[in-house]
Amino acid sequence: MHLDKVGSLNKGDLDMSENAIEVEDLTVAYQEKPVLWDIDLTVPEGVLMAIVGPNGAGKTTLIKAILNLVKTAAGQIKIYGKTSSDQKRLVGYVPQRGSVDWDFPTSVKDVVMMGRYGALGWIRRPGKEEQKMALSALDKVGMLQYAERQISQLSGGQQQRVFLARALVQDAQVYLMDEPFQGVDATTERAIVSLLQELRKSGKTVVVVHHDLQTVPEYFDWTALLNVRLIASGPVQEVFTEENLRLTYGGRVSFLKHNGENGVSNIGQRTG
């Protein structure tokens, strides 16, 4: 595909083209108090975007709302112009590692093959083809030798990579990932980041809930700052500013100062 060649240079062209995700006036409340309040967010095709915000900011909820996993009180969500229930095949999901029971009696390969269930449709079982895809995805995340292992015998970082491989076999256009770096060591984090950047280069859109503010400018080209309301979203260079971070993280000044300064100086290096 010609999209392979799209680098940061012609990002401008992409911005003009279709948007991968459009969120309009989204409000979500589990009980009375909204956890997401009137969110308007546009994610252009082909970006690698970080969603950042403090604990309880609603990052997970935002991802789940885009996936149609939680009830919304108001608002519209479009994926390539259609509702997400019309676009299931286009969206890949990496949930938070803690969202499943890792003592479930199944193997690494079986879990990865679940990524093909949607394409298989009802009743049909995964076969040779699906096995091959699963093994190749496991190879990409460096987990090939664990294919037959029972999933309870994995470290946190390995579990994370299994989920990543499962999303890869979905062969989606848009990926939504909830904290894929949680519990991952530095080497694995590097490997995952380059994998995500590869995905972006091949024209996929990748949205990642991310915790480490310091690495945002280095890893991502797009970001959304969230704390119940959307504080800002756009290219990292433009919106990942100390001012916006202060608005997002509120009174936690000492924490903010340290990270904020780092972030800003990183941006300075990048644009300079």
Partner: protein
Amino acid sequence: MDLGALFYDLFFDYTLRTVALGSAVLGIVSGALGAYAVLRKQSLLGDAMSHAALPGIAIAFLLTGSKASLVLILGAAIAGWIGTLFIMSIVRLTRIKFDSALGLVLSVFFGFGLVLLTIIQKMPNANQAGLDKFLFGQAAALLERDVITMSILGSIAIITMMVFWKEFKLLSFDPDFGATLGFPMRLLDILLTTLIVLAIVLGLQTVGVVLMSAMIVAPAAAARQWTDRLGTMVFLSSIFGALAGIVGALLSSSIQRLPTGPTIVLCISAIVIVSLFFAPRRGLVWNWIRVRRNRGRLHIEAILEDLYSLASAHDNPEHAHSIAVLRLMSSGKGGVDKSLKTLEEQGYVRSVNSDQWALTKAGVEQAQNLMKIREGNN
């Protein structure tokens, strides 16, 4: 009891054969579907469902006057289903937590069922006798047509489970992910729950409402000990269920006034206990051995490293040291002599005289390796 005669009767005695077949069907179906209930952490739901089925049985009898198992099973299924629906709705619509909702529905439905049973007992109708068997179960009362009904319904449940194998696996492991793939997870949840209700009500006549949930939970819990694959677990669970069902039902039929439910539950409990203790890898005995072995190995490694650090204070890494120092370094824990013996057998240390020990060349290398591995892990 003569075992030979029992086997003879099993094949040629009408009653015994019916009882054994019925219990086998019950064990297979509850074992297989119980695996899903256990994996989805719905064991307690099974308990509520079976208790909630009692008023359904009573009402079905009151309405039709029939004791045909299809009629009673249908009544039980509907009541069990409504009970489950109540629990789900209470959790969703109120602030009451799952366990409280469960206890509430279980006791209200069961209490209501008991009241209805009492009323039925007092009715001037010769036909009512035997309905109280549903409390603790009575396999000997099974008729051939009951077994046929059970087999047909059981086959439907098992076949449905196999047809939707992949979907149910997804539902049990990661329902949110399943929903993002486009599968209607609520619908699948309802379908699987219905199959579990079916598995429960099939066994009520044999095991009784009070203990039926054990037949859902216990075979699956035992099977989980032996395997790490869903397919094997479901299969083993069915086998365990059938085994306990047959043995328990036969025992209770050949011994007077022994209720079937408790006997079957005793059998399955024995299987669970054996599995908990002796299953490889997950079993307690196995765990205990592994912990002991690890502890021994760690102790040996510690001694090796102690010797090395002592020796590195000297120019010669093979310098000998007194056993008393090693005892001090292993902070009072015993077993220094034993660990040194093991190390000597492995060729890592040698005794210079009775209480002086030194590392060999291989020992020095091994100690260096161990320390490198330790650093790598940190």
